[in-house]
């Protein structure tokens, strides 16, 4: 007993060092176990990897789809028609004013003459306009909203219409609304899919850890009998969960990269047929790290569940 008391006194630093080295040992040992038992671990690792990779691939595709939409030439513009009596100078002032608006990312002034020229070049109806005595077109400001959210856009339209110089502001909101709804559905879909699959990963890891605990039942019982704390007994299994999550995440990142790059070629070909250059962006190193972090997180959560359920069964 005196010995134990002496150990208790042996200083905070020493104890911390022992604790850290103990943790490090467990980390190494559990990693070694995974590597030396490839048959047991491979199936679980693959299952985890696929479950993480699937939502990652979908997420990559939807974010690419949405950023692709942003790049479409016909990004939604608000056509602001100025009153007839507004001069070019006044129109420029209004444009500068609009540029200051927090919800406006671009505002371009198009004078009535420019608008007419554009119209003549762009349509077959030029004859009709020539027949008219004077230019029937008003000055226009083309405004690109900074947010695509239909609610923000319609608010912006309303606030623009409050300008004295403005006759009317118009935008074709319907296609924007549809687009927005579709992207919202896609986002939700990815979210739900990820939720279900991540839950699966947690359960797989909890189960795998549970099997590992059952396998070491005798050792755990003995450890508890000779005075191990529950934390000490659980620790190696927590690390095992960490490694499963880390390995699964790493594998998932590889699967995601491979799938996205294999899709990328055909997407580029498609983009070229639309005379546009576009390549899939897989998220690069940040994406890979994010996938691994998700894996580690799921591993640690799954292990905690598995460990607390199964060690409780053993007790004593």
């Amino acid at each position: 007993m005196n010995q134990n008391r002496a150990e208790k006194k042996s200083g905070f630093l020493l104890r911390t060092r022992l604790l850290v080295s103990g943790h490090f040992d467990d980390l190494k040992k559990t990693a070694a176990e995974l590597i030396t038992n490839p048959l047991n671990s491979t199936l679980s690792l693959l299952l985890i990897a696929v479950s993480i990779a699937l939502p990652s691939i979908f997420l990559t595709l939807t974010t690419n789809f949405m950023s692709g939409l942003d790049r479409i030439d016909e990004s939604p513009k608000i056509n602001v028609y100025l009153r007839e009596e507004v001069s070019i100078e006044e129109g420029m002032t209004v444009t500068r004013g609009l540029l200051e608006h927090p919800q406006v990312s671009e505002a371009t002034f198009i004078s009535a003459d420019e608008a007419l020229k554009e119209f003549q070049e762009g349509s077959n109806l030029s004859g009709i306009l020539i027949a008219l005595d004077e230019n029937p077109l008003p000055h226009v400001v083309e405004v690109v909203p900074s947010s695509l959210d239909p609610l923000d856009v319609s608010n912006l339209v309303m606030s623009i219409e409050l300008y004295d110089q403005v006759q009317e502001a118009s935008i074709n909101l319907r296609w924007l609304e549809r687009l927005f709804a579709i992207s919202l559905i896609l986002k939700r879909l990815v979210f739900v899919l990820a939720l279900i699959l991540f839950l699966g990963v947690i359960l797989v890891i909890a189960h795998t850890i549970g099997v590992a605990i059952q396998f070491k039942r005798q050792e755990i019982e003995l450890m508890l009998l000779i005075g191990a704390t529950h934390g000490f007994v659980k620790r190696p299994f927590r690390y095992l969960g960490f490694w499963y999550g880390f390995g699964g995440g790493l594998l998932a990142a590889v699967i995601t990269e491979l799938s996205v790059s294999s899709l990328s070629a055909s997407v580029e070909a498609l983009a070229q047929s639309y005379r546009s250059s576009y390549a899939l962006d897989s998220g690069g190193i940040v994406g890979i790290l994010a996938i691994i972090v998700v894996g580690v997180f799921l591993g640690v959560v799954g292990a905690s569940i598995g460990v607390s359920r199964h060690v409780k069964e053993i007790q004593n």
Binding site: Q3, N4, L225
Partner: protein
């Protein structure tokens, strides 16, 4: 060291394993716990290691009332006790050194001290040179010695043994008992449950005899 004060123990199925047991084990004392199987010897030891808790009465360990020790702190009590089991409970995937080192690893002893103390403990039980052997390559007497080395490696203040010679022939049993006496001589309090009366008769030690859960006699 240990004192039982009107301790009773009933298992969940209603079986009354111990009835109103009173005794004291003094510091540095060696006491034998006897009685036929099913008399409650193992239950009594389990109460001390807190695998079970008494239905009534109280147990003092080194002045500490075990009823007041929460489940979370049981490990502290167990670190003060070395236990030798009849089936020795060795881990067969670990060698002799690793088996004996377990109690020290649990309390976080550093590698150098572990090595020194494990070797000392192994040579004390007469197994020097067999550190790298695995339990399945040892005789049952040697396996039990490994179990004893593991029980004493952390220098516990109390040594409990549950039928430590149950699987051994008389000569090996005698050797094991001599070991326990040696530990007792350096001040380790010991409580040894056995039904091997021959071993007892040759020694002048106190005996606690249990029968059907009741302490029937205390002899010197």
């Amino acid at each position: 060291m240990i004192s039982f004060d009107h301790v009773s123990m009933r298992y969940p199925d209603g079986f009354e394993a111990l009835k109103d047991v009173n005794f004291e084990l003094k510091d540095g004392e060696m006491v034998f716990l006897t009685g036929p199987s099913g008399a409650g010897k193992s239950t009594l030891l389990k109460l001390i290691t807190m695998i079970e808790r008494p239905a009534s009465g109280q147990i003092l360990f080194d002045g500490l009332n075990l009823n007041r020790v929460s489940n979370k702190h049981i490990y502290k009590i167990r670190r003060e006790i070395g236990v030798v089991y009849q089936n020795h409970r060795l881990l067969f995937d670990k060698n002799v050194f690793e088996n004996v080192a377990l109690p020290l690893r649990v309390i976080g002893t550093n590698v150098k001290d572990i090595s020194r103390r494990v070797r000392a403990s192994i040579s004390k039980v007469g197994l020097a040179g067999k550190e790298r052997k695995f339990p399945k390559n040892l005789s049952s007497g040697e396996q039990q010695r490994v179990g004893i080395a593991r029980a004493v490696v952390s220098r516990p203040s109390l040594l409990l043994a549950d039928e430590p010679t149950g699987n051994l022939d008389p000569q090996l049993s005698e050797e094991i008992m001599v070991l326990f006496e040696q530990f007792n001589q350096v001040g380790v309090s010991s409580l040894i449950a056995t039904h091997d009366i021959d071993l007892l008769d040759r020694r002048k030690k106190r005996e606690l005899r249990l029968s059907k859960g009741t302490l029937v006699s205390e002899s010197k």
